[in-house]
Symmetry: C3
Subunit: 201 residues, 3 copies
């Protein structure tokens, strides 16, 4: 189980680093930009979560292997990846969205915070990597756009489900986590496939 979690974490970090580096190339940045954007995309959500909670030094400082993996992948992607399967990136990114949303919520519980705040921690962990990537790239965050397919919403729904299942003792924590993360993963892929967006005003 732990090995699966670690594997999934690396899958998600890989997707974020590669997409960050490619975004940097698209925006005419150099390698420094590519690596910084890769880090921010991969670790930004968890970093904001840790700062808000006061979990310092933040998580990636305790695990240099993750940082090295993101560094190498960003370097290679920046100079060598001419065509990356957009579909593959979306699938790998959806793995991370599910995983990190649930993880963010469980950290909130460790600090005895209310379920409402736990949902917020899940969503923040899930989306702020992309938000900070776009801020550093001088763009309005993609997840805020009216044409953006559901992303934060998937995290919100799945994290809420996880919390309801767990908080009201409807299932064990691990079952609730697997259900929540799977719902986020599936909902995100469906939203991307069928271009589902939130209603505009």
């Amino acid at each position: 189980m732990d090995e699966l979690l670690i594997f999934l974490t690396y899958v998600a970090v890989a997707a974020s680093s590669i997409s960050g580096a490619l975004e940097a190339r698209k925006r005419q940045m150099d390698l420094v930009g590519a690596i910084t954007i890769a880090y921010v995309t991969a670790f930004g959500g968890g970093t904001v979560r840790d700062l808000l909670l006061g979990r310092t030094p933040v998580f990636w400082m305790a695990d240099p292997a993750l940082t090295v993996a993101a560094f190498v992948l960003a370097l290679v992607a920046f100079y060598r990846f001419d065509r990356v399967s957009r579909k593959l990136l979306i699938v790998a990114d959806a793995v991370g969205l599910g995983l990190f949303s649930i993880l963010g919520a469980t950290y909130a519980f460790q600090f005895n915070l209310s379920p409402i705040i736990a949902v917020h921690m899940g969503v923040v962990t899930g989306i702020f990597g992309g938000v900070l990537r776009d801020v550093l790239s001088n763009q309005i965050p993609q997840v805020f756009g009216q044409s953006a397919e559901l992303y934060a919403t998937c995290s919100f729904v799945g994290t809420t489900l996880f919390i309801v299942l767990y908080f009201y003792h409807l299932s064990s924590m691990s079952v609730a986590a697997v259900v929540g993360a799977s719902v986020i993963f599936a909902m995100r892929l469906l939203a991307a496939r069928f271009k589902v967006t939130l209603p505009s005003p």
Copy 2:
């Protein structure tokens, strides 16, 4: 007194959430953008203050009711508010500027920081909600513009007055706080009414 403080806090959070959601609509964002911008406008200044001081988990995590209020107001404002009185928003926002500036300075005293730093904490608490709103909306922060009516300056003047009164024992803390917050409130409204700006170079 405590009930008055709570009431004024909700007034200020309401103004920030609504103006954040309307800004998001103006910038073609979806509901995720509207709620995030509303949160950032309402809680951003206090969050930056808490992070700089090390007061974690940050303030809004301890009080889910504030978050729920901001969520609901942003949702309603985003979909339903076609015309909001700009004057009313400015008045409610000025309430928050006065309140949160003084509150920020008092937190600095709790950490035994110098009066100079306390002024900075007041101003940061007062203005960084709007600054982060504009950064996430991909704009130069409005409070930095040469045509911007006095905003940070009101916070600076009133917070300094509060600190001088309190630090040199010229009045009790609560009298100093009421004087400081009132000066900020009045100065902000006068600046908005008469379009007072800082001199340009």
Copy 3:
């Protein structure tokens, strides 16, 4: 030695404040913008470092003299400096890049973090002032640009050298620090003089 460090710190803070205030003027900001951008340029890197490590209240709160110096310099530069020697600013800024990179790495060691993370803390401390300045000015960070002369790279090389020398006991900490900082300083000036950039993809 300590007096030299303090002197060099003020040199670097002066350069950052002045360049921040001039950037604000170029971007049509008012005095509030100038002072905020000056602070962010001068203290942003160290603040991000302290937040990530959990060293709160952050460093500049303990030393109001630095803040006052940055305030006064930004005020004067904003209204009065019509022509500032760009060369002088680059030299003074390079002093800060060397100094703060090494300082950032040593703080990481105080938290028993790995050498890999210590390099990152050095680079973050060195470059994030400028990154945040550009984010608040609504620009893609200059250090990420393909035409940007080496900056983060100098910090990376010199900090790595410092860490190798110190971590493998090849020299005392102070000798390693002087070597590392000098390499950063010299490499930065050479890169600026000969317009050295990283290879583009």
